[in-house]
Amino acid sequence: MINELMIILFAPLIAGVVAWALDIKGIREAIGIIGAAIPLAYLVKLYPTIIENPIDYSITVSGFTLQFQLNTMSWYFAAVASLVGLAMAFGMAVTSRESYDWLFALMSFTGVLGVFLSQDFVGFFLLWELMTFASFMMVLRRNRHESLKYFVLSVIGAYAMLIAIGMLYAKTGALDFASIRQVLYMDAAMGTITTRETAIIFGLFLTAFGVKAGAVPLHVWAPGAYSETDQSYTAFFSGALSKAGAYGFLLLYILMGYKLYAAFGTFHNHLTFAYIIAWIGAITVVVASFLAVLQEDIRKLFAYSSVGQVGYILLAFGLGSTLGFAGGLFHVLSHAIFKGLFWLVTAAIILQTGKTQFKDMGGLAEKMPFTFAMGLIAVLSLAGIPPMAGFASKWLIYEAAISAHMPLVAGAIFLGSALAFAYVVRFLYAVWFGQRPSDLEDVKEAPLPLLIAMALLAIPNLVFGVAPGLVTQYINKILGGEVVGGDYYKLVTPTGTYNALLVTIALVIGLAIAGLVYIYGAKTRKIPVTNTYQSGNPVTEEFNLSIRRNFYKPLAEALEFWLKYSWDRFYERVAGMAEDFADSLRQAFYNGNVQSYSWYLAIVLLILALWGVL
């Protein structure tokens, strides 16, 4: 029983290493898929046991005791990650041609599982760094600049966390979560850790988890990292790895919640520190959604949309109410499924057409019907349209925001989902419908493993959409209380109910009627492509708007003022300045002249002398 956790944790890594070592075309993929499937299989097997009591496992490595625990919450996160991981493995069987990708993809898989399962900071930090390193190596292959940007930001986050861990270790003398929580709980009253130190520790943890979750000021790595790697790996990258950041915020609550409350008090009856997290989430949702709408490249669009969606989760956790946690946790699952699905659809499109810009695509629905259907499910789920899981989780988050009396934050959610709908519809129309460019005539459907991967993620979308109770019942177990009422098909919250079954039946009937009208109604006829007319004034070449080419250009012009400031350029300038400082420092100090070197020695002697004499 005990070493099951080890199997779950290290199966992907070992499979990755074996796949990398063997490097034979067929076998490599098989090992990879098996390696990715083992964690999901074991998690399902262990489901009945962890309901009663969590499984513990600890090993001592070089003096540190690494503790791992599979409790309800870590099971939930691990299950989400392994589901997306399995889909990624199926996807990578087609899209990756190098055993190098398998090694590092599965290493990051182990990293994420380890982060969710570990119960002490050393193991947490170790696997966190492993996950960052592995995902960095995936991006390093294809683009050095983007990968280094990603690595530097996430390593700064990781090291910020290390300093915070060190400070906690210095103060509490403990490294494992249980005793830290206990000591901090007691300390809230005594206050040996001053508010200033708590603020530093909170700020450091915020940066660490903010970088990973892609919160606004630290999100610049996301577009580059997500688009510059093997697309089916990005499904895992944005589906599961960003969840590690969200999990970190949850950890913050568990470990230091009471201490932070005692240190910072409340801000018109919201927990101050939670308020900050909520606002970070809100800003991320708005900024990322606006940026997503303006993108011309399909991968950049989904990258920003992924950052935005994680913003939702942060926002939900920031509300601080148990309903907020429920909404956030549900959104963790739904975001993982529909975002993973989106990335697999993109992988299929890029694999078959080789194009990534909207303007080169169009009319692929006939050519790739199955991928189109999967894309449609993903679109509905992201936009939050009822039968899909996306709607259920967003609905819970709205409920929580309203009941937490945070109108501005709720406003941010509405704006975010409106923009989400905007860019999703653009994706739907630009890629699938409309005029098909001549060079895409011979496009075939995506190969089978990729289709299996997409199906793997589409089915839960539907199942949890129609029966959200499955998820909320489990979430109640996590939060330990009847947070979201109702049975499998109905969600009951203090402010409203949502009967998923009823809505789905209504939708099916509506669709059936629409189908009839379509078949027997007016004939469809081919229409020539005509330019869109822009309310009377002549359409100049550069302003030639079509669904595929800069469709949202007017919005971009409206946001001209805001788009001037980009965090990305700011970080590039800072990096440039650091390198120039390094150069000038080196030229000044190591100037090659022995005499100046002996002057350095004399100066040190002078310092010793002055310190001695005074």
Binding site: R586, Q587, Y590, G592, N593, V594, Q595, S598, W599, A602
Partner: protein
């Protein structure tokens, strides 16, 4: 005030250091280095001196408590030879520098920098 010997030793050390810090020619710096080493040796010996006693050779006239402290003298014997060895090594390296750079001016010997 400290005794004349200490004063002499310290001033020798400082003169040597001064030469290293200010002189441009490598050979002058090496001379400064050996002056400094001589100064240190003088200091080492003068630490062991006990006034009113003679050399630690216990022949007829001198008993165990009429002799000066022998250890610093033993140490100086080693330190002098180390000084010789460093200077010999430095001079041969200076010969190579002159052969390859054509100059002994410290400002110009700066190919390895940054």
């Amino acid at each position: 005030m400290i005794s004349a010997y200490y004063f002499g030793a310290i001033s020798l050390i400082l003169i040597g250091l001064y030469a290293i810090l200010v002189k441009k020619n490598v050979l002058k710096m090496l001379i400064g280095l050996s002056i400094m080493e001589t100064g240190v040796n003088l200091l080492l010996v003068s630490v062991g001196y006990i006034s009113g006693r003679s050399a630690p050779i216990l022949s007829e006239g001198i008993g165990p408590n009429q002799a000066v402290d022998p250890i610093p003298q033993a140490l100086v014997l080693t330190a002098i030879v180390i000084g010789v060895a460093t200077t010999a090594m430095a001079l041969s390296v200076a010969m190579i520098i002159y052969e390859k750079y054509g100059t002994l001016n410290v400002e110009e010997i700066r190919r390895l920098r940054g």
